[in-house]
Symmetry: C2
Subunit: 514 residues, 2 copies
Amino acid sequence: MNGAESLVHTLVNCGVEVCFTNPGTSEMHFVAALDRASGMRAILALFEGVVTGAADGYGRMTCKPAATLLHLGPGLANGLANLHNARRAATPIVNIVGDHATFHARYDAPLAADVAGFARPVSGWIHTSMSSKTVAPDGARAVQAAAQRPGQIATLILPADTAWEESDGPATPLPRLEAAPVSASTVDGIAQLLRNTKKSAILIRGAALQPRGLNAAGRIAAKTGVRLLCDTFAPRLSRGAGIVAVERIPYFAEQIVELLKDLELLVLVGAKPPVSFFAYPGKPSWCTPEGCQIHHLAHAHEDGVAGLEALAEAIGAPREPAGRAELKKPELPTGRLDAFTAGQIIAHFLPEQAIISDEAATSGLGAAMFTANAQPHDHLALTGGSIGQGLPVATGAAVACPDRKVVCLHGDGGAMYTLQSLWTQAREKLDVTTVIFANHSYAILNFELMRMGAENPGPKALSMLDLRNPELSWTELARGMGVEAVRVETTEGFSKHFADAMRHRGPRLIEVAL
Amino acid sequence: MNGAESLVHTLVNCGVEVCFTNPGTSEMHFVAALDRASGMRAILALFEGVVTGAADGYGRMTCKPAATLLHLGPGLANGLANLHNARRAATPIVNIVGDHATFHARYDAPLAADVAGFARPVSGWIHTSMSSKTVAPDGARAVQAAAQRPGQIATLILPADTAWEESDGPATPLPRLEAAPVSASTVDGIAQLLRNTKKSAILIRGAALQPRGLNAAGRIAAKTGVRLLCDTFAPRLSRGAGIVAVERIPYFAEQIVELLKDLELLVLVGAKPPVSFFAYPGKPSWCTPEGCQIHHLAHAHEDGVAGLEALAEAIGAPREPAGRAELKKPELPTGRLDAFTAGQIIAHFLPEQAIISDEAATSGLGAAMFTANAQPHDHLALTGGSIGQGLPVATGAAVACPDRKVVCLHGDGGAMYTLQSLWTQAREKLDVTTVIFANHSYAILNFELMRMGAENPGPKALSMLDLRNPELSWTELARGMGVEAVRVETTEGFSKHFADAMRHRGPRLIEVAL
């Protein structure tokens, strides 16, 4: 058994079942090992940003790592932007990067690069295997590192000869490192603060944004009136009918300041204090009001769900939480098709347990508003702000949850970064409906240009925000990659095609002309 | 005048005329400055790999830097793979990366990342401007650093507030750092060695692969019989009728060993000794025979052209070089359309002074063979081995040389990495004819799987090399981005459409069904 086979066996034994990949020559032994070691599904993508984004989507939905398999430094480089998003999502990923054979490194061949250097800004753990005998135990360590709480990217660099030389066989899986418990004294301290403070909020991130954690938070709110918040870009948020609703912190700093004004206590569960996404001349970066106390109930590596449940008990909260969302399906709209009517249609037809991969940016406000009372679903946001996440994350989420409908809401600008995702969706027959909001613009930048104080922008500046010349045809792009596609210009057209997509399985794309 | 305007003015004063960009919020002041400071053309791309690859193509053809403008760490990350190729090409690029305002960095907002960390593996020079007062002189230093010989990537990181705060106006350009001269004693030493050695070769890279350097090399060959070589992946090579031909070192190590066997002297002009592109079990990495002397006539930072001319004089070479290529247009083929007949057709119709951006990989052998005796042209190769270079480099070359036809020869696998290039070609009405060799496979990997010793590959392994399920339609993909496209399946069809493309200006794409 060579090193590659020992590694694949080890990964499978450690519970890694899927490898998203765009391999090259130095990864050929790993690729060959996929047949010899059963239990690992291999999914090809035609660009590495799809590989890493899919691993992110998979990890968010399964809470366990997928493996990637990337081709040397440049292959890793192409995947970095979505690894940045995954880092911000604290998604567990075993990020495997092939490299030149150990004895070849000294020759500085054309593809040689500083792989670890590329990996460092996104990785919580990096290791280069130096022998086929250590590849298997290195793989076990990578899985353990990736899956520790909160999740992180564990980059394992695999020189080609460590894959093709003889190994000592698979390694034993290492124990899973569980989340650290929240201490009773911390819970008591927060309970005391909540009792003594009128204007308080709990800002939640991570696993506590799923139903169990939200239920506990809702119980605390029922007892204390505390507001429940989540970040603008939460990695995964359960929402919709029956689930305790949280307020999503808005995008712009002045809106955040307005939301939090007069707040006296901010309790953090796996979150950081809210800050402005960008800096602007004369606008604040720090958004929590002066004098507001900030305390952690749980840090990101701690068990926020158990912490919230303990807090609910400590304050004697009722069994029934406050703030469960009701099911309120919007009527089907008529008239102009825009972000708001599109949002009504999406919320109307969204099936139970759907997964929304949301990179709709300015076009997503309607969907965000109306799906709050749609059927229960999971919402996956653009955690790191690096656009081109939505399509790959949808791809990975669909691999993770084959029985759930995935709806990808995407701006046309961002979708161009990783459009190759559609090919993988077609190849794997994934149940993803992609809605492209085609406003032919980096629309957010039109706001930002003004907000930044760049006055009287000239034609060159404006042309840098404009995607109209030439217009992209998403139906042609999708069909070019084997995905069924339609363009709609009316509310009736979108209702018809979105409803149809929700009723049938398989990838399709709907271009919404805005 | 704010920092951004002072920088744009400075860049223009330093001779930087083009900025390839995919900007975001933190770059809005730079974008606005493009209108206020005249002389800078701004070219938008929908993905950063197009930005950096286009800057590479532009730099290879003009020998001076274009600027990029990228959006924080992840925007840079998306451009790294083609910056890797540009680094291997020693292309001068002023790589400008916007970042959060200096005062915002401490808040670790979602898009914050280690920008310098991402930049380090590809940059010869990195600097973060810390004040609007220093942005302009920092820009002048970046241009000087990028343009030093050989060219390199100078990364200038631009926090948003250094762009929007008041500046002290533009900075004075710094002197251009010329190539170091080759010493007379070095020339005499090499002359002596050449006189005393029978089996010798000169391996050339860099500016000396253009007609003047090749002419001098050909004169040396006429006198001494020395063989003239270039790397498999030379950044830019002038070839075709009337130009002194050099032998291109083959791709596979055992072919290189065969080519160089019995060599007694290898003279390097701006090149490194040839090594295997990848390592393989039991195959050599180092390809120069044991006992062969290796000497530099010129290192990469030295003036190889003057060095070759001095050497020609030192050995009393004749005025007329040996080995000028003759014009031999292939007859138009009939029969099956494959890589060889396609190559004949391309060579037949290739117009004078065309620029070939070549990422045709296994499908490019025919074109490489037959264009050796086509009209004189420049050939731009995949210098760093990171696929997805060809389309962006063609884009940048067309911007650099609007009066020359650019022909981009590309494999379908590699083209998917940066297909967004086509949109920029349409938008800028660039005179690029893209030929996609659609073999629906990472064909090279089928060879590599065997060469790597991965025996009896199973269905999973083989499916990772196969792009047939579903088949990509390049005509639909191109039309989706506004580029006229046609698919051809016969030699007659390809002759007709390629000839037509050579006669008319503007972007178009021909998918060659293989």
